[in-house]
């Protein structure tokens, strides 16, 4: 394991009978990091989180937290605490009792416990709510209590299982800011499970994209967005146009490609193993494509508008390019007054792109 790895997941696998839920995952998470596990439902992200918490046993491999192997440590002795997806607020206890639940073992004087609970209420901005019962609280308030209840034990790691999934959009955005603020303030490691890529991009220092029980890529949000390593990652994070292409040649640092619908082009590529004859995908983000009403000077591809979606601050276009199977998606800022004529189906347009916007992915 690397020196600064605070949580180290070494070749961890999980199988239920013959079904393999997690395939040999290795991951390092640094101290104080906001780390997200991102993937569609059933990709194994929640299983991995529950293995960190100790609710699922590890079939193979080992998890180390702060240098300690965790296999034989039961959940109630692990230095981690969890915010559950449904918050799991104890219905028979009030807010203060919920937050102070884990303090029993510390055998502190009553006054100290009360003080700690008050501090936590203040931290999550619920001062004065101590005597309320669970059913008197809103979803956002329950979420804060679940946070306070986990944080009062000063865990080394806080695990969050889709904690914002149940909230409406506005509240979710507000809670995202809050989580970020809290994490900065207390400086502990957060491991956050979500299926919402926007949420993961907003919150995380690093993200592990998971699919089918495997980690596809671990990177910073911008790294994942700008330099996805596989087609799956590229299509899971944001929108992406994919064009089939074939490698026709390689000269140091450059690859010559024959791209469907565009023709021959050369692209700077670093350290890939591409060789002549390889079938690849050329990917480009919709917002990196530039739409022109008249033919620009230099390289451009011509097409015609197939569909326009007006979204206020920007518009989405589908442009049919001869030779391409699917229309190209373009997203552009509406920096000028919107002209309904521009949206007409069949209007001829030209597309250009900055040279570094193209990503070559193996197929």
């Amino acid at each position: 394991m690397t020196d600064d790895a605070f949580i180290s997941i070494r070749n961890v696998g999980k199988s239920y009978g013959s079904f393999r839920a997690i395939e040999e995952i290795s991951l390092d998470i640094a101290h104080g990091e906001f780390f997200s596990l991102l993937g569609a439902s059933g990709c194994g992200k929640t299983t991995l989180l529950r293995m960190l918490a100790g609710f699922e046993s590890v079939s193979s491999g080992e998890i180390y937290i702060d240098g300690q192997p965790m296999s034989d440590v039961p959940p109630f002795q692990r230095p981690v605490n969890m915010v559950f997806q449904n918050y799991a607020i104890f219905p028979h206890l009030n807010v203060a009792q919920n937050i102070g639940y884990g303090l029993r073992k510390l055998k502190l004087p009553r006054a100290d416990q009360d003080r700690m609970i008050d501090e936590m209420l203040e931290l999550v901005q619920l001062t004065g709510y101590g005597k309320r019962r669970a059913h008197e609280l809103s979803g956002g308030q329950r979420q804060r209590i679940a946070l306070a209840r986990a944080l009062i034990l000063k865990p080394k790691v806080l695990l969050l299982d889709e904690p914002l999934g149940a909230l409406d959009k506005q509240l979710r955005e507000q809670m995202q800011m809050e989580l970020r603020r809290l994490q900065r303030a207390i400086g502990i490691t957060f491991v956050f499970v979500t299926h919402d890529q926007e949420e993961a991009l907003t919150l995380s220092d690093r993200i592990a994209v998971m699919s089918g029980g495997e980690v596809l890529q671990v990177d910073s949000p911008s790294g994942l967005y700008e330099a996805p390593k596989t087609r799956d990652v590229a299509s899971f994070i944001g929108n992406m146009n994919f064009l089939d292409a074939q490698v026709t040649g390689r000269v140091n640092g450059h690859a010559y490609l024959d791209v469907q619908g565009i023709g021959k082009m050369d692209i700077p590529v670093k350290g890939t193993t591409l060789t002549e004859g390889d079938k690849v995908s050329v990917a480009i983000r919709p917002e990196k494509l530039i739409l022109h009403d008249t033919a620009p000077a230099g390289d451009a591809i011509a097409g015609e508008i197939e569909l326009t979606t007006y979204l206020g601050e920007r518009s989405h276009y589908h442009v049919r390019v001869p030779g391409c199977d699917v229309p190209m998606a373009i997203s552009s800022q509406n920096s000028h007054m919107h002209d309904p004529d521009e949206a007409k189906t069949g209007r001829p347009v030209w597309l250009t792109w900055p040279n570094d916007a193209l990503i070559v992915l193996e197929r």
Binding site: F76, N86, Y87, P91, G102, R142, L153, A166
Partner: protein, 276 residues
């Protein structure tokens, strides 16, 4: 305030029917207390005037006290044991994936459906073949078989409604299995346990047919009433005793259902917990 949708508009005829139905449901039973205060050994109109004589008479009968003691002893033991058995069964069924658990539940529910006579004679045959003398123990075992389905049926929904993540949250916050049970599981299913204790006690206290087949010389109150029914002059005393038993049952069951209802309120909380 009434809900004014077309489908739910009030229906006067149905309303009258419902009220008549409730009256007919309760009226027959109400004649028992009514005539228990009647100053006549005949149960007939016109009534002869108010008296507490029949109750006073009961007070002096040693056999009644003995039967009451037997009923209470059996009822307490049966309610505690059947509730404990119900708790472990409900816990196992909801907590673990077990092949054949539906079959087990159906099997345990048999005494609810199969006529009591059959279980009565079946157990009678068993204890006689084993050479066990009829006593309050055999009565208690018979009651246990009758009460167990009620205990399981009362407890199972409570344990089913119990959210696994509550226990996980407790473990996550540092409590081991034992403490988690006492701090989370038990308080959350407690309404079900109390309801089960009250209901099974009431059922055991009122049980007749099993007791009829399985009791020896020590009898319970329902058997005492049964034997007294043969003597017309004992009718008023039986009415008085029945009144006491009915009152007790009504109170216990009302409390049990009310507590069960508190549990239902908690379920709603849990639902909002999940649905929020």
């Amino acid at each position: 305030m009434r809900e004014g949708t077309y489908i739910k508009q009030p229906n006067r005829a149905l309303q009258v029917y419902a009220i008549v139905f409730l009256i007919v449901l309760y009226l027959p039973v109400l004649f028992i207390p009514l005539f228990s205060f009647n100053d006549s050994i005949y149960v007939r109109f016109p009534m002869q005037g108010l008296t507490f004589h029949w109750y006073a008479d009961l007070w002096t009968r040693d056999t009644v006290w003995a039967a009451l003691k037997n009923s209470l002893t059996v009822g307490l033991w049966v309610s505690v044991i059947s509730t404990c058995l119900g708790v472990v069964a409900a816990r196992a069924i909801t907590r673990y994936q077990m092949p054949g658990q539906n079959a087990i539940v159906t099997f345990a529910m048999l005494p609810l459906i199969v006529p009591g006579v059959i279980f009565g004679v079946a157990l009678l045959v068993l204890v006689s073949r084993l050479g066990i003398p009829l006593s309050l123990y055999t009565v208690g075992f018979g009651h246990l078989i009758i009460c167990l389905p009620f205990a399981i049926a009362t407890l199972l929904p409570r344990f089913e409604g119990f959210d696994r993540s509550m226990e996980e949250a407790s473990a996550d916050l540092g409590e081991n299995g034992w403490w988690t049970f006492w701090r989370v599981t038990f308080p959350m299913v407690a309404p079900g346990i109390v309801a089960s204790l009250l209901l099974t006690f009431t059922i055991s206290f009122d049980e007749f047919i099993m007791t009829f087949f399985l009791s020896g010389t020590d009898t319970t109150l329902p058997i005492y009433i049964w034997t007294q029914l043969r003597f017309p002059r004992e009718f008023p005393a039986v009415l008085a005793l029945s009144t006491i038993i009915l009152a007790l049952s009504f109170v216990m069951v009302f409390v049990a259902l009310w507590i069960g209802r508190l549990g239902a309120v908690r379920d709603q909380v849990k639902a909002t917990n999940e649905g929020a």
